[in-house]
């Protein structure tokens, strides 16, 4: 394809034209630059999250909010989301393996590892669905209401909620609480501060719930579309299209880049929502 040009006397650099300066096909470059621009989309969201969090007097503590496990287990902070992270890491590794098998032109290998990647993506989506439905259904956190709050001063509870808090329990500033619902009614507890004032639990910053569902939802949407693209490419792999192509399994490599990017974004979503 690249014939050398007889008029060139000097050693030819990659930038002389007629060749790929980064030794990468235009398709791969497009994927890289698309991911760069998608990174800016996520950066826009995550930085907005940061700005709103900085502007808020309190912010829910993640290891109090994300502490449920399937089967009615509570107070196991961050365990479930760590599992989700692992699912995504594993699916990233299987994707790496699929790309490596592609380099060996091993159709069966590619198909196997891609199938495992798709399964990983589906498990992640299922986990996210469970996490969302628990937060919405059991804890009543929605994009409008955030029942997770933190105390700004120390005091003593005047009521109990029948779950974790008994009448007379002491708490200190910074302690998290969750406002429960009785039937359709919110039941914020009353408490007495150390200075003797009687106050009621307040809802947490609304932005927390909305940002959480929005950003993890946007990430989940990426996972979902990744699963769809992976499935399409898996069908193509099985049909043998790529084996006959000039660039062989490059499509697998490109979708691999996308899939790793989804994992990469999760690193930061995990950081800002679950760790910090």
């Amino acid at each position: 394809m690249m014939t050398t040009d007889q008029t060139q006397q000097t050693p030819v650099s990659n930038w002389e034209g007629g060749r790929e300066p980064f030794k990468a096909s235009y398709g791969k470059l497009m994927m890289w630059y698309f991911l760069l621009s998608d990174a800016f989309t996520f950066a826009g969201f995550l930085i907005s999250y940061g700005a709103l969090r900085f502007s808020s007097p309190t912010w829910p503590v993640p290891d109090f909010v994300f502490s449920s496990l399937p089967g009615g287990i509570h107070h196991k902070p961050l365990i479930f989301v760590t599992f989700m992270t692992f699912v995504l890491i594993v699916s990233s590794v299987t994707m790496v393996r699929a790309v490596q098998e592609g380099h060996r032109y091993n159709k069966k290998g590619v198909a196997l590892w891609m199938t495992l990647t798709i399964v990983g993506g589906l498990i992640f989506l299922a986990c996210q669905a469970w996490e969302w439905s628990t937060l919405m259904g059991k804890e009543h956190m929605t994009i409008h209401v955030n029942p997770f709050g933190t105390h700004i001063e120390s005091g003593t509870y005047l009521d109990g909620d029948g779950h974790d808090v008994q009448k007379g329990d002491q708490f200190t500033a910074g302690k998290s609480y969750l406002i429960h619902k009785h039937g359709d009614e919110w039941a914020p507890l009353r408490y007495q501060t150390e200075s003797g004032e009687i106050k009621q639990q307040q809802f947490g910053p609304k932005a927390f719930g909305a940002l959480f569902f929005f950003i993890t939802g946007f990430h989940g949407f990426h996972v979902f579309s990744g699963v769809v693209f992976l499935s399409i490419i898996l069908v193509n792999v099985l049909s043998g299209i790529y084996a006959n192509r000039k660039n062989h399994y490059e499509m697998v490599e490109k979708i691999g880049l996308y899939w790793h990017f989804v994992d990469l974004v999760w690193v930061f979503v995990f950081l800002v929502f679950y760790l910090l």
Partner: protein, 616 residues
């Protein structure tokens, strides 16, 4: 006719002997992309056809947007005039008062201002300018058969078309198009009850712009990868015409800034449709506190202007590139300071990302933070001035051909200087306290990115019309168009600076309740008359454009201007794949004019014995 056909068949001997054979015909038995009317003219994957599509869509939008400006200019100059004659066009937005006196609905006035901004900024000066010329010139000037991905290129246009359709549709919904300003600041945009245009009109507006972002990203990815990977042999980066550099930098800016606008819009869509409070806090409607707290409207402004400021360079950089190229060709001189031009474009591109909050000095950004934005903003004057001086020195001592495209280039430089200088005023936060939201701002950005970018676009259209349609536009008509336009533009926007300094605020429906602004009534009327005249001068262009497509003087030679760049080595009647046989191999940079006693030396001509490469 036969001469043309003969010339068309003749292969350039330089390409025949020295060209690069990429086995074009072996890969393309016949033309699989252009088999029928639909694939040739509608769903075309040919970059030249897509360029034509962008250009004509842009022209349609420009006429719509300009007509809107005339309506609100009439309202500003003659608030008491009877405009019932507009009723056939605007329908219920003209209310008939006592005695059948027609008045422009105030709500619709704001809608017109908003739509004028949106249409001109996005649909005309982004898609119509960068979309047209990136598509036309990138493959032809770098010596490529087409874009890297012709299919995505086609999708890019059709997303733009879809976005256009949705925006056009929003003009006709019963509650009216969006009326909260093209910047769509919340809470006006976040609350559907804020104004009637904030309902369905804004929903469609947002959908349209999200589609537009998709179109820009698809286009931008294509432009970048094409410039990187598809340059023909010998076409190093330092041999690229400045147009291609400008399109490359534009595409990079677009790729990094539009996604952030999309994030801002997604959050806004959530606020509107799902009741979240990302941008809302402390809102009262009819004395009732709204249960929407904890967000910040300034957050949207930050996200918006993180696109918004780079956007003005997305608009002006292609114009700059076109002007540099056309000016050099018609001054018969190499562009002065080629590398300085490239570096200044790159630094403008970089700086455009760190200055966004200078649009927000008076809307609540922290005053301490403003200091940094002022400093960064004023630094932009440096690369801009480098470019201006390079254009002036290119003109100096040149053998100027004062044809229409050259006149528009000179007009561009004039406009860019005038508008750039007022930019230095506004970039200072202290002076901005006085000037913000006045007609001074309106005049500034219209001159520097509106009219200047239009001049670049006109220069490009007049210059490359033969490559687009195989015929020339009428030069005499073009010159009349130029002189009417530049005089008209200064007549419109010159006085606007003055009334802006007088404190007249923008986006007001009428001024007669304010004693302070009554003195400016005459000037407002003058501006309106000038605007109407200038608009009709543009019709000369439109007539010239469409007349010349079918009736213009025919292009009979490959290189009518004696230009160096590769698009003028393609056949007179353009073909799919651009070059019939081999691809030209580039031997020199694009600006060897007047070198060694030769008027011009085309890029694919080999270096003579002992000749120095001017690009080093």
């Amino acid at each position: 006719m036969s001469v043309v056909q003969q010339k068309n068949k003749e292969t350039d001997p330089l390409i025949r002997d020295l060209g690069h054979d990429d086995h074009f015909h072996a890969h393309h038995h016949g033309d699989k992309y252009q088999t029928n009317f639909l694939t040739t003219y509608i769903f075309s994957q040919d970059h030249k056809m897509i360029a034509r599509q962008y250009l004509i869509t842009g022209i349609v939008w420009a006429i719509v947007g300009a007509l809107m400006s005339l309506v609100f200019r009439i309202q500003l100059a003659y608030p008491d005039a009877d405009v019932s004659w507009l009723k056939p066009f605007l329908g219920k937005w003209i209310t008939l008062g006592t005695g059948g006196v027609g008045r422009l609905d105030p709500e619709f006035y704001y809608a017109l201002v908003t739509m004028h901004g949106t249409i001109l900024v996005f649909f005309v000066l982004t898609a119509g300018l960068s979309g047209t010329f990136s598509n036309l010139l990138i493959p032809m000037q770098i010596g490529a058969r087409d874009m890297a991905s012709p299919f995505l290129n086609m999708l890019s246009y059709w997303f733009f078309f879809l976005s256009s359709l949705v925006m056009m549709y929003s003009l006709f919904v019963s509650t009216g198009p969006f009326s909260g300003g093209w910047t769509a600041y919340p809470p006006l945009s976040a609350l559907p009850q804020a104004s009637s245009g904030s309902g369905a009109g804004l929903t469609l507006w947002l959908v349209s712009l999200v589609l537009f972002v998709v179109s820009i990203l698809l286009g931008g990815l294509n432009y970048i990868t094409t410039v990187l990977n598809l340059r023909t042999q010998g076409m190093t980066m330092w041999r690229l015409p400045l147009t291609v550099w400008a399109f490359l930098v534009t595409a990079i800016i677009a790729l990094l800034s539009f996604p952030v606008l999309a994030s801002g819009f997604f959050l806004l869509i959530f606020d509107r449709s799902l009741g979240t409070s990302f941008y809302l806090s402390d809102i009262f409607i009819n004395g009732q506190a709204l249960d929407r707290i904890g967000g910040s409207p300034i957050l949207f402004q930050h996200l918006f202007w993180f696109l918004g400021h780079p956007e003005v360079y997305i608009i002006i950089l292609p114009a700059m590139g076109i002007v540099s190229e056309v000016m050099s060709v018609h001054a018969r001189k190499p562009i002065f300071g080629y590398r300085a031009m490239v570096y200044s474009m790159l630094s403008i591109g970089f700086l455009s990302f760190i200055v966004w909050a200078h649009h927000m000095f008076m809307s609540g950004v922290n005053p301490f933070l403003s200091n940094f934005f002022v400093i960064f903003t004023l630094i932009i004057a440096v690369p801009s001035a480098v470019k201006v001086f390079n254009w002036l020195t290119t003109l100096y001592g040149g053998n100027l051909r004062l044809n229409t495209q050259m006149l528009f280039c000179i007009g561009f430089v004039s406009m860019f200087i005038s508008g750039g200088l007022t930019g230095i005023f506004l970039g200072n936060s202290t002076i901005d306290i006085q000037q913000h939201d006045t007609y001074f701002v309106v005049a500034h950005f219209h001159v520097v990115m509106g009219v200047a970018a239009f001049f670049g676009m006109f220069a490009g259209v007049y210059n490359w019309f033969p490559k687009l349609f195989g015929r020339f536009m009428n030069d005499s008509l073009g010159k009349i168009h130029f002189w009417l336009t530049i005089i008209g533009a200064y007549a419109v926007f010159g006085p606007m600076h003055y009334i802006g300094l007088g404190g007249v605020p923008r986006r007001y429906y009428r001024f007669d309740n304010f004693d302070a602004f009554r003195d400016f009534d005459d000037l407002n009327q003058f501006i309106t008359i000038a605007a109407i005249v200038t608009f009709f001068a543009q019709l000369l262009f439109v007539v010239n454009f469409f007349w010349s497509i079918w009736k213009g003087r025919k292009l009979t030679e490959k290189n009518p201007y004696g230009s160096n760049s590769l698009e003028w080595t393609t056949p007179v009647k353009t073909i799919h794949g651009n070059w019939p046989d081999k691809l030209p191999v580039v031997q020199r940079w694009a600006y060897d004019y007047g070198k060694d006693g030769k008027e011009f030396i085309q890029q694919h001509k080999p270096m003579a014995e002992g000749e120095e490469d001017s690009s080093h």
